[in-house]
């Protein structure tokens, strides 16, 4: 019993850490540019498939190389998508709904392309680390520990980037006041594209990390989109710290509900908690209206 509960807590913590990485990415785009990206889940699958393809290359045999190659690919992809698809819509007054529509179209396009290219069979990635810690019945794999620290490291790196680099500070400035940021000479358009690219990297990384534990499927991203969305709304859209707390709460909740009631209930319970939270605090845990 005790060991079972510890297992559940650990799985909640690990999933929570990866969810945090992905939710922070989603909340970032929303906080900075007020755009909602429906293709976010497909970017998750894209990350997984890129890693899968990279492992198919003969000279790649470890995750370090995969990360080194996947990050620039995702970065360029995200930048390109923002510049060609989202940026032209920004001039319109009903652009929010148009962005939702165009990203939904993109999601459909990407998901079904994955289906045609890779087939609907599940793809798996080799584990990131072998072995594990053992103490009696208790077992903790090195892979889980690695995933946890990589996600947390990713978030800390992102925090450092926001607080200490010039680009990061301009991202924060645009989030606070786009017009004001433009007046003091911050290239708003570039910041929008850069945040989109960074969020693509974050969710793509989440895809690479989680694909080792679960599998990559063409439609698997929808589940992730909904979870990241629930977490951002729960924590408050645009609030990174709120998203962080919410991700761990959701990860724990999911692990415990899945263990106690069965996996089919997790989504229902998640939405019930979300609705109750939003009924009491419409702006989410730490969100501000705006």
């Amino acid at each position: 019993m005790v060991i079972e509960i510890t297992d559940v807590i650990i799985s909640g913590l690990i999933n929570g850490s990866v969810y945090a990485l992905m939710a922070v990415g989603l909340t970032l785009i929303y906080g900075v540019s007020k755009a909602f990206n429906f293709a976010y889940g497909s970017f998750y699958s894209l990350g997984g498939y890129i890693a899968f393809l990279l492992f198919g290359l003969s000279f790649i045999n470890n995750y370090f190389l995969v990360f080194v190659l996947a990050v620039p690919i995702l970065l360029v992809f995200g930048f390109f998508v923002e510049k060609t698809l989202v940026a032209p819509l920004r001039k319109r007054d009903d652009w929010e709904i148009k962005v939702m529509m165009i990203t939904l179209g993109l999601a459909l396009f990407l998901d079904n392309s994955f289906q045609v290219i890779f087939g609907s069979r599940m793809k798996s990635l080799p584990p990131f680390l072998e072995g594990g810690f053992e103490a009696g019945d208790f077992y903790l794999s090195h892979q889980d520990v690695g995933i946890f620290f990589l996600s947390i490291g990713g978030i800390l790196l992102f925090r450092w980037f926001l607080n200490n680099t010039r680009t990061g500070m301009s991202v924060r400035a645009v989030a606070q006041n786009p017009a004001g940021a433009q007046i003091v000479g911050i290239p708003k358009e570039f910041v929008f594209a850069a945040t989109f690219a960074i969020s693509t990297v974050m969710v793509g990384m989440g895809g690479i990390l989680l694909a080792q534990k679960y599998f990559i499927t063409p439609m698997g991203g929808w589940d992730i989109l909904v979870k990241a969305w629930v977490i951002t709304a729960f924590g408050g859209m645009g609030s990174i710290r709120g998203g962080l707390y919410a991700a761990f709460i959701v990860g724990m909740l999911e692990a415990f509900v899945g263990w106690y009631f069965g996996m089919t209930w997790t989504l229902i319970v998640l939405f019930a908690v979300l609705l109750t939270t939003l009924a009491v605090r419409p702006q989410g845990l730490l969100g501000k209206w705006g």
Binding site: K34, M101, F109, L267, L278, W289
Partner: protein
């Protein structure tokens, strides 16, 4: 667009549609597609009403449709109510659920509303498939396979001869489009316009956001649920597969092609989209890819849809004449 031009466009569309069976009446396959076009034109118009005119990002339209379909099928089977009444009861049930969903949404903004309504969509599948759904008679993951066909005054509509059902659906679609037109052009429509432009200012002028938004939730979910019922009694079987992303995107394509907030556009969009979707079916797995690419390109090239394109051409011509 002023209401005269919308009325004219509506009359034109429905007249053209009404004479189509003269040419295709013999081909059941094409009549079936036309019936689907009529059903989706109403659902898409409702979505346009709530999203394009009222400015509420509701993503639960497919969920309401499926709820209506299941509700009508279950009611007609378990309480032996004739389908023609069951359809309206189902509409009432979905309207009640619509109000329930609408209540928390009134406090929320933009993407939050999209999430809550999409959540209804996401929860519906496990609920219908799970124990709760099976207790209500949804048939679990197998779905409902024998739904009573629609009958009025002893006449039974069958899929074998779809022309009568086509005219029934045409009548329903015409009525629904008239209702939507009246709503858009009455003080409701004006209230929505005011609320969309500036909610604070409109509320100060005495426009109750609460009342109007809840009403639009009730109306659109009623009509959508009703159409779900008509769909169920026509097709004769239901499964949760309708809740997949395909149908959702098809509806969205309809709105993109027709133009968001350009009312008769959704109806034109429905006919074009469903027809193109059928034409693309030989592409097999490449069909959804093409649909996705089409959405992306159309949003970029034709941001206001076909109606927007016509409006632009028309106003340019007028502009040219005055000079």
């Amino acid at each position: 667009m002023d209401h005269k031009r919308i009325t004219f466009l509506l009359a034109l569309i429905w007249t053209i549609v009404a004479v189509l069976p003269l040419f295709f009446g013999g081909t059941n396959f094409i009549m079936h597609i036309l019936i689907m076009c009529l059903i989706w034109s109403v659902v898409a118009s409702c979505w346009d009403l709530i999203m394009g005119f009222a400015g509420i990002f509701s993503f639960g339209q497919v969920a309401f449709f499926v709820m209506g379909a299941y509700a009508s099928a279950i009611i007609s089977a378990q309480f032996s109510i004739p389908p023609i009444f069951a359809v309206f009861v189902a509409g009432g049930i979905t309207a009640a659920i619509g109000i329930l969903v609408g209540l928390p949404c009134l406090k929320l903004k933009g993407a939050y509303i999209a999430l809550v309504t999409f959540a209804v969509h996401m929860i519906l599948e496990p609920v219908l498939k799970g124990d709760i759904g099976r207790a209500m008679g949804t048939g679990g993951s197998r779905g409902l396979l024998t739904i009573e066909p629609m009958h009025i005054f002893g006449y039974t509509f069958t899929t074998a001869s779809p022309v009568p059902y086509f005219y029934l659906m045409l009548l329903v679609a015409v009525l629904c489009s008239v209702i939507i037109l009246v709503v858009i052009k009455s003080h409701w429509g004006t209230a929505f316009l005011a609320l969309k432009d500036s909610q604070e200012f409109a509320t100060c002028l005495g426009v109750s956001a609460f009342k109007y938004k809840l009403r639009v939730f009730a109306l659109t979910s009623f009509l959508t649920g009703m159409m779900g019922g008509f769909y169920a009694h026509y097709v004769g079987m239901l499964s949760t597969r309708m809740l997949g992303i395909d149908l959702f995107v098809t509806l969205m394509v309809i709105l993109v092609i027709g133009g968001v907030g350009k009312f008769p556009g959704a109806i034109i969009g429905a006919f074009i989209t469903i027809a193109v979707n059928e034409l693309l079916s030989p592409l097999g797995p490449y069909r959804p890819i093409t649909m996705g690419a089409m959405v992306v390109i159309l949003v970029l090239v034709l941001p206001d849809g076909i109606v927007g394109l016509f409006e632009r051409l028309f106003s340019k011509k007028q502009h040219g004449m005055t000079h």
